[in-house]
């Protein structure tokens, strides 16, 4: 379908054993394709925060949201694709670098606000943080030097500005069900 785009979901879940498995199992079972997924603690004790990026059209996105909501341990789902947001990935890239190439590589790193975190006689390891597109851009310019190894985290994301009071997630304990 035409409106298939990469969509970012922020999911708050109870921090219990097996919850991540429930979320990923749901995506697999419903044939929702995960591009990336990261999970970590959130600002709230007992609550983990998952960022999922997946390709989906508008309808599928709504169904993803509704299906994730159905999981008993899921506290909140927010699709932030169309909200002003900050989205970041972290990459470590090991590039072949003899003495001659080093200076040019370091210059490139500066342009991408990446930094060299390890230097070996034949290679450099670069750390880059940025929106997924930026890391892709860096990889493209590094390609001709020869990339020996690369690792990238999935995206983590957060909306910009302060959260309006009404939209602020209530702490777990306050939510009651009839």
């Amino acid at each position: 379908m035409s409106d298939v785009v990469k969509r970012t979901f922020v999911i708050f879940v109870e921090d219990r054993p097996g919850v991540l498995n429930r979320v990923t199992s749901l995506f697999r079972r419903r044939d929702f394709n995960i591009e990336s997924l990261t999970v970590s603690e959130s600002h709230e004790p007992g609550v983990s925060r998952i960022t999922v990026v997946c390709l989906a059209n508008e309808d599928t996105a709504k169904r993803i949201e509704a299906n994730v909501y159905k999981l008993v341990n899921v506290l909140e789902v927010d699709e932030i694709t169309h909200k002003p947001r900050i989205e970041r990935c972290l990459a470590l890239i090991k590039v072949r670098a003899d003495r001659a190439a080093r200076a040019e590589l370091i210059q490139l790193c500066e342009m991408f606000r990446a930094s060299v975190v390890d230097v070996a006689p034949e290679s450099l390891t670069i750390e880059a943080v940025g929106a997924p597109g930026k890391i892709q851009g860096l990889l493209t310019v590094l390609e001709p030097f020869g990339i020996e190894e690369m690792v990238q985290s999935g995206a983590i994301a957060m909306t910009r500005g302060s959260v309006p009071k009404a939209e602020r997630r209530r702490p777990v304990r306050e939510i009651q069900v009839a």
């Binding site: 097996g18 169904r63 509704a66 008993v72 069900v177 009839a178």
Partner: protein, 604 residues
């Protein structure tokens, strides 16, 4: 042994009323399991013991809860499901770890796909052994993750009360479904102070209740007022939300005709003038055609299953669609709708009722009458007795002889569709059938479960194929040991009939692996000490049914029906809903050989 020694096999009868209140006492986890079951209103559980659940079984005799010993744990989960479907209450099954738990799986999946509230309690190896491939250790919460609404692993005694309360709450609330609670053996053996509060369960992330949006309700009413050719699609949601009366009022006020899904049958009385009948793959031709020609579809508690819609691209192309549904994840899943209303169907109907205006739609009424034509009435009653027995006869006569008041539990296959076509259900929960998963072997155990829930004044009939019956026939022994009375009508056609029919229609008539042999079912009944009868002609049918109804124990009737009969009409899988293989008609006054159920204008 002295004569006044207590006989351990006959404990003093226990009753709910005389049970001591054990709150504040130190109890074992095993006892606490039964305390919770009792307080959740459970009267009967279906199960099978084994090592990891033995502590719970040992404590069982202290409690006034009936245990039905099954012959295979699949039977236990189907029984819990049958109980749940017949009563609307949570059904409970119990099994041991490992193979006991995995045997439950088919029944759990069956309950999941038809949103049936069951709680499955399984024993698990001691918590210290988890993950070690200990004897009979299986990660059953992992196995059942995609086929339960939710599941739990309990590793310590203190978790038992909160987890089991949540399990019952989750199973029965919102869109119901199966919940599995896997309880480690040590948790059953450990002791703790038993505490219980009747405060409602609170779960931070679980929102089973949605309030319909006013503007959506208003939009729906506007569409209804303007519609020239509206049809209501009534699904199982009508039954689950107890909306039969609300729907009847809605139909009486709006004059909109109703098509039912398989699981919706009984939710709206078959005898109501506005009930068109069943839609979908084996729905009636006029029903499917009416849906295709409609300009407004009101989908009430149904989920646009592919067996109901046929080809989605051509499904009701000219219709606006209103979808009233409890589960938001069903909205726009298969069919894109114009107005979604998320909420409990009964409440939504009651909200809409005052806004209904009686609109006359004479052209639409006439069109439907024309579509029905002669085919609305099928002459079964007056069909010449060609000396053969047809499944349709059996079902039709069963309907007449039981005055439509039996609880019928079907298996899966041709007989299931014939039941849906020829037994006219006027009451909710009077048809119990596996729709979503289509599980062969469901009928007998589900009927045993239903027997515990159904009005004792009603007979329970199992309508089952010769193939499906053999999948769970072991539960006949359960009927004997537990003194359970159901009537079993085996529609014996010597084939895996539904598959044979597909082979006839779509696979060049190659009957690969569908002719099926059966034991002598009458002798099988006899071997169990049960009554068995064989019926080979229509003339003998009524007497056998009457005898079965009068007999105190379970009865097996082997109906030897025409072998190569087919279910008509049929929308081939994936075809347009309007594109049906129709029931053959009488040709030159003669009946096509295998298709005696032709259409005539005579009363059925």
């Amino acid at each position: 042994m002295s004569s006044n020694a207590p006989n351990p096999t006959e404990p003093a009868p226990l009753s709910r009323e005389t049970m001591p209140d054990r709150r504040g006492e130190v109890l074992t986890g095993a006892q606490i399991i039964w305390e919770v079951l009792l307080r959740e209103g459970v009267d009967v559980v279906f199960g099978y013991p084994g090592g990891a659940i033995m502590p719970a079984y040992d404590a069982m005799i202290q409690y006034p809860i009936r245990h039905v010993l099954v012959r295979h744990e699949q039977g236990a989960s189907h029984m819990a499901d049958g109980y749940a479907r017949a009563s609307g209450q949570v059904g409970v099954c119990v099994a041991t770890s490992g193979p006991g738990a995995t045997n439950l799986v088919t029944g759990i999946a069956t309950a999941m796909l038809d949103s049936s509230p069951i709680v499955c309690i399984t024993g698990q190896v001691g918590a210290n052994l988890l993950g070690s491939d200990a004897f009979q250790e299986i990660d059953i919460t992992g196995v059942t993750l995609p086929i339960t609404k939710h599941n739990y692993l309990v590793t310590s005694v203190d978790e038992i009360v909160p987890v089991m309360r949540e399990a019952f709450y989750i199973a029965r609330s919102g869109r119901p479904g199966p919940v599995l609670v896997d309880i480690c053996k040590n948790a059953q053996q450990e002791s703790t102070t038993f505490e219980w509060s009747d405060e409602p369960v609170t779960l931070p992330g679980y929102r089973p209740v949605y309030v319909p949006k006013d503007d959506h309700v208003a939009q729906a009413l506007e569409l209804i007022a303007k519609a020239k050719r509206p049809v209501i699609l009534a699904g199982q949601g009508v039954v689950k939300s107890g909306a039969t009366e609300a729907l009847t009022r809605f139909v009486d006020a709006s004059g909109i005709p109703v098509a039912c899904t398989l699981l919706g049958l009984g939710g709206f009385p078959a005898s109501h003038a506005q009930n068109l009948g069943m839609m979908g793959m084996h729905g009636e031709a006029w029903v499917n055609t009416a849906i295709q020609e409609a300009d407004l579809l009101l989908a009430f508690g149904m989920r646009f299953d592919d067996r109901v819609t046929g080809n989605l691209k051509t499904f009701a192309p000219g219709a606006r669609k209103v979808h009233v549904e409890l589960d938001p994840s069903e909205i726009n899943k298969n069919v894109k709708v114009d107005v979604p209303i998320i909420g409990d169907l009964k409440k939504v109907l009651e909200l809409m009722q005052p806004g209904l205006t009686g609109v006359e739609r004479p052209a639409w009424t006439a069109r439907i009458a024309e579509l029905k034509g002669d085919s609305a009435v099928r002459d079964i009653q007056h069909l010449p007795d060609l000396g053969k027995l047809y499944a349709a006869h059996v079902i039709h006569d069963l309907w007449r002889l039981t005055e439509g008041r039996a609880v019928v539990v079907t298996d899966v296959g041709q007989h299931q569709m014939w039941e849906a076509q020829y037994y006219h259900h006027d009451e909710p929960r009077s048809l119990i059938t596996s729709g979503g998963l289509g599980t062969m072997g469901f009928a007998l155990p589900a009927a045993i479960g239903a027997r515990f829930a159904a009005d004792p004044g009603k007979s329970v009939w199992v309508v089952v194929g010769d193939g499906g019956f053999q999948m769970t026939a072991c539960e006949l022994t359960t009927c004997v040991q537990e003194d359970i009375k159901v009537n079993i009508a085996i529609i014996n056609n010597g084939f895996l009939g539904m598959v044979r029919q597909w082979q006839e229609f779509f696979y060049g008539g190659r009957y690969v692996a569908t002719p099926i042999k059966s034991p002598d079912f009458v002798k099988l009944a006899d071997a169990h000490g049960l009554k068995g009868m064989r019926v080979e002609s229509r003339a003998d049918l009524a007497a056998a049914v009457r005898e079965a109804e009068a007999h105190p124990g379970t009865v097996v009737i082997d109906f030897r029906v025409e072998q190569e009969d087919s279910v008509y009409p049929m929308v081939p899988a994936g075809a347009d809903l309007g594109d049906m293989i129709k029931r053959p008609r009488r040709v030159d006054g003669r009946v096509a050989q295998h298709n005696p159920i032709f259409e005539t204008g005579e009363d059925r």
